[in-house]
Amino acid sequence: MSARLPKGGRFLNRSQPIEFSFNGKQLQGFEGDTLASALMANGQQLVGRSFKYHRPRGVVASGAEEPNALVNLGTGRRLEPNQRATTTELFEGLEATSQNHWPSLEFDVGAINARLSRFLPAGFYYKMFMWPRAFWKHVYEPFIRQSAGLGKAPNARDADTYEHFNITVDVLVIGGGIAGLEAARVAGSSGAQVLLIEQTAQWGGRANVDATLIDGADEEHWIEATVDALEDMDNVRLRTRVMGAGVYDHGYVLAYERLCDHDPQDGLPRHRLWKIRARQIVTATGAIERPLSFAGNDLPGVLLASAQRDYLINYGVSAGDRTVIVTNNDDAYRTALMLHNLGLEVKAVIDARAEANGPLPVAAREAGIRVETGKAIAKVKGVARVEGVAICAQVGEGAVLDEIACDVVAMSGGWSPVVHLWSHCGGKLVWDDAQAHFRPDPGKAPIGADGHAFVHTTGAASGLLKSDEILQNAHDAGADAAKAAGHKPKRGKAPTAASPDEAPIEPVWMMPQGAGHELRSKMWLDFQNDVKVSDVQLAAQEGFESVEHTKRYTTLGMATDQGKLSNINGLAILSKSLGADIPAVGTTTFRPPYTPISMGAIAGEARGKLFQPLRRTPMHDWHEANGAHWEPVGHWRRPYAFPRGSETVEQAVQREVKNTREAVGLLDASTLGKILVKGPDAGAFLDLLYTNMVSTLPLGRCRYGLMCSENGFLIDDGVIVRLSEDSWLCHTTTGGADRIHGHMEEWLQTEWWDMQVHTANLTEQYAQIAVVGPDARNVLEALGGDIDLDAETLPFMHWTEGRIGDFDARVFRISFSGELSYEVAVPASQGLAFWNALLKAGEVFGVMPYGTEALHIMRAEKGFIMIGDETDGTVIPQDLGLHWAISKKKADFLSKRAQERDHMTDPDRWQLVGLETVDGSVLPDGAYALAEGRNENGQRNTQGRVTSTYHSPTLGRGIAMGLVLHGPERMGEVLKFTNIGGAPIEARIVSPVFYDPEGKKQNV
């Protein structure tokens, strides 16, 4: 059984016990433990169930590559599914539960799948569940979904917060092992801005476990001294618990910091997402040991040989009492020797190679350890955990030669460099035959915009496995990176290290070499997703020859560990099945993130109220305080209406319309876009932009203008004001302000860059209030000031500036309601005061604020179009009867040519009309006018559609605007409109101007 040793554990603080629970059981660990080491220390070897067959699973690794030990961590608002126990630092009160089983971890009904496994080979679901047809949705799929999935879905809002952090550096070093430390040290000595990040909480990586002498002393001294030296450099930042997650174009790197996962608390962000711009990147991300493929290699008690060393040295935990080691290389003998030196029993080393005579095997034999060469594991014995192994010759079909009782099998299939970050942005790999792994091809690094490499790789991540070479290489990589970032590194002497010689690895992809189907169907490649050697072979047999096909057909490497343990082994099996070389088959694409990162971290601070910036007019708080019913419009909120007392929103809207038409109303129009266009060529520019003539607009005048896209479609409208000889103020729709400003700039910068024009978006500089209704002039006059507001001095479509009351104001005599109306702009800072002044002055006239819906109704009563209602990106001004706003004189303007195209001049285009229901009801929004028959595709023919529809309080009936085939020529005709779930509704074609067609009310 796994257990805590009486002594040892570099990371542990044995004086600080920590209480935690697993599946409700109270357990104890120490400060410095991971959840995995603490579980093992408590003898808890069964930690979860696999995805497909619900097989019992134990810990196999000690880091980010762990495929099995995934738990639901925490509860309620702090529940996190699929948390990896090997990277979860233990904290007081930690609560973990195991996943993917029912009713319990020990007894899981889903394990029936394992018994049926021969009926569930790779891709089985593509071949069955087709009949009866309805069963997929109602029976098969729900069943499959229920047994798939891993962790529990959280059901409450996250209690924690997250943040983003941006930084620019010269050199980013990813990985804090000896290679990363040395590279950072050298780069730092050049004066370059260096950032060194390490995903775990400790510096030094594997060197600590594998006892390397550096510069003649214990590696720990060197590591400590180097970290101290780095900390002393002002130009170097070091951070632990920060993982390099992804490398993107232009040296953009994403890193993921876990600030308080090891110590959950309120007040601190849980994760911080680092967005790093690095001139140069050094990946020193180490290597990961590979499992070996033998029957039963997935049982709890089988783990990586290097992980077993990690647990011994770092956590003082032994994986069991009697270990069998199985290997194809010398490195695994380190585990044998370490166990032996700690007084733990090593039953045997099973080495698949014909001979093993390097210094490490020799030392093992000298220590009295049984070493079997040319041998393999035929089968691991045991049901829910390792009970022993049967051994056989590697060359053969698995005839059992001997059986050894044991409770741990430590396997080593060689090391694979962690090449993910190198590969994310296009770095290429080469197959290294001698070491049997893919490593970065230094000649094919990711290339930046300048055509030069921006990623370097060093240490085990580059395929080097000996400390001496690693340090030399890291020294050079740090210097190269600093140099490439424009600094002058001091190349000195790299530290030296002593590492024993190792005999070559022998690639062994299957044990034994000639294993039959029976054994192959028990050799796991992907432990989490339950992909076995036989599955990959079946994929190859069925023609899924591309490695991407095999991955998708079998799900190899698609689990939450992203195949860190399984990819190369699976690939090797595939290439063997295809009779091809491994490099010819190639790897699947490596995609960010390196290990999964929280959605919370990606979203960052932008949640709830901060989700998107909320734009507020100067009167926003007044609206809020006065009961505004809000409507989101772009990033703004606009009052839809101001219900009073027990009024419904609809009642409020009707009241607001009536009051404005009969007395006077106030509208906060500040959100309307206001773009200043200025310069010697401003007039010519606007002539190109608008369909109307703008340049001839006299000073003091306003003009309604239309803007179309180059494809001819109407995109925005608004009133243009001539402010001075060379400056115009262009009003846009609320939603259009930023877009139209961008549109102007795009044309100015990319096509008409020779024009002398500046544009500025002044939308937020002014508060704009529409004073609307028969008493509008009276209200403004009551405020006093020096502006003459009478009809002769300031006629319709004119503007002026001066003082109204105590306010500096620009007054535009424009109307979107058909009433006498002044739009008054004052500096934003004066907006609220002016609004209050108007309310006060208007009191005697019965002034009331009104919202967007009243605005909409009044404009519809008057037959004014609304961008986004009458237009939808397919409508041209000609469809809306706006021919008068399209200049015939101008030689050119945006959309002119487009509007001459066949389809645009087609007389069958639907045209704007008014619609009145026969029974006075309100037509449904978006209804279509029915026509006879069906088209070739069997769809009902139509002859028009409703674009806006309202109940008009003024007329006391439903009114609508719509686009209808030959509409203007069909006045009085009655059409039938769709009415979902009811009989079609009849409406008569009428003029779109329902109210005051002569303009008597607005032109007074």
Binding site: P81, N82, F119, P121, Y125, Y126, K127, M128, E141, R145, A148, L150, G151, K152, A153, P154, R157, D160, G246, D249, Y252, G426, H517, S521, S534, L538, Q541, E542, S546, E548, R552, T560, Q562, T589, P596, M599, A603, G604, K609, F611, P632, V633, G634, S709, N711, F713, T734, H856, I867, D872, G873, D902, H903, P924, D925, A927, Y928, N935, E936, G938
Partner: protein, 415 residues
């Protein structure tokens, strides 16, 4: 064809699965074919399949530069719906959707079409009106959709926050027979059926040139040599501009990266597909348990199949806001595909200036759902030489005439 069924699986289980045949043959190209389709994505394979099935043309090769299904077909988020606004779109997408209903049985390959329902959230007044209009249009187009209340949204998808502080849910357009399917299986199922009809699927073979004589296509040049054909169909999505250039014409297409991501798998918590267009993100849960997430396309042209992180961030932000419980899930994997965007966001199914050369492209961010219908329509066009009713509106000439089929409703803004 070797039939797939539960009995076949049981039989094979008894003999260690040694009897399974290749799903599709791997053949060297012949000298010439009646029809060559370039691009073994879903659209190319479906085109070939319906050429055989509907028109009896089986002397067909599908030529693929990488591995079949490895383009956008194998990279998309698999949303299937047909609640489009414009008649021509609704017709072809509904044709596709209805073919999806029976495709597993037709192909004898379980593509796991899951009509779990698709909802598109309305989060502004403007969106409400837009979706109500779509519901009206759909009612005449034979597409079953309805506009539903926020309460119904919450019932169908309990993990949605309908009272979000920034953009509360005001309703949704709901298509109950929309859903998802397994993308790879769609490509594999069609490939297997094509191969079974005697067609050649030639992978790892890049088309590098188009041959023609007197304005008529005569064949293609490839990395495996020249191959002759009477008719050519170009169905290469993101690389359409490149192929068009080889054939001597230009296309109104821009190629940009569109990205997607998945979370780690969790137990079922979401039974429908939800699209939230105001905040710009959409999500569903795969049968494996992963939350499948997508959002907006990159704003610049690109062929690298990698996108910028910015869009991942925007999308995830939008979805954490819409589905607060996903905050503590983790992003497992992100990827990108190069999508072919037209100006009106509708596809092109068209003859080209080169005689007997046809093109199918422009599906942009939403063509997975169209695969069967598009293949049906494209096969009809290639077989007859001219587009049938499903394809008629999607010709290249529409850009010249201004006859757009605008689904983006691009200039639609609310006041």
């Amino acid at each position: 064809m070797q039939r797939y069924s539960v009995f076949a699986v049981a039989r094979e289980a008894m003999r260690q699965h040694t009897g399974w045949h290749r799903a599709w043959a791997s053949r060297a190209p012949r000298k010439s074919y009646d029809v060559i389709i370039v691009g073994a994505g879903g659209h190319g394979l479906a085109t070939a399949y319906y050429l055989g099935k509907n028109h009896g043309l089986t002397n067909v090769a599908v030529i693929e530069k990488g591995w079949l299904g490895g383009g956008n077909t194998g990279r998309n988020t698999t949303i299937i719906r047909s609640n489009y606004l414009q008649d021509p779109s609704a017709a072809i997408y509904e044709k596709a959707r209805s073919l999806y209903e029976t495709i597993s049985q037709d192909l004898n390959y379980n593509v796991m079409f899951s009509p779990r329902g698709v909802m598109m959230l309305a989060q502004t007044e403007h969106e409400i009106r837009g979706y109500q209009r779509t519901a009206h249009a759909n009612s005449l187009q034979g597409v079953q959709t309805e506009f539903i209340s926020p309460q119904r949204v919450k019932e169908l998808c309990p993990i949605i926050e309908i009272r979000g502080p920034r953009y509360p849910v005001l309703g949704a357009l709901w298509q109950a027979r929309g859903g998802t399917a397994r993308h790879d299986a769609v490509a594999w199922g069609y490939a297997r059926a094509c191969s079974d009809m005697g067609m050649d699927i030639i992978q790892q073979c890049e088309v590098t040139g188009v041959r023609s004589e007197n304005g008529q296509v005569t064949g293609v040049e490839t990395t495996k040599g020249a191959i002759g054909c009477n008719k050519l169909g170009i169905v290469v999505a993101g690389h359409s501009g490149v192929l068009a250039e080889m054939a001597g014409f230009r296309l109104p297409i821009e190629s940009v990266a569109l990205q997607a991501l998945v979370s780690e798998p969790i137990k079922p918590c979401m039974d429908v597909v939800v699209m939230a267009n105001t905040v710009h993100g959409y999500m569903s849960q795969s049968d494996k348990g992963e939350m499948v997430i997508g959002g907006g396309a990159d704003g610049y042209n690109n062929y690298t199949q990698r996108g910028s992180f910015l869009h991942i961030e925007e999308t995830v932000r939008a979805l954490v806001e819409t589905f607060p419980i996903i905050s503590r899930l983790k992003m497992l994997r992100q990827w990108g595909g190069i999508v072919d965007m037209t100006g009106d966001r509708s596809p092109i199914i068209s003859p080209t200036p080169l005689g007997n050369c046809f093109i199918n492209c422009g599906w942009g961010t939403g063509g997975f759902k169209a695969i069967p219908g598009s293949g049906w329509a494209t096969a009809e066009m290639i077989a007859r030489g001219t587009p049938g009713p499903l394809a008629a509106a999607f010709g290249l000439e529409r850009f010249r005439e201004g006859r757009f089929i605008d689904e983006s409703v691009a200039a639609g803004v609310a006041h």
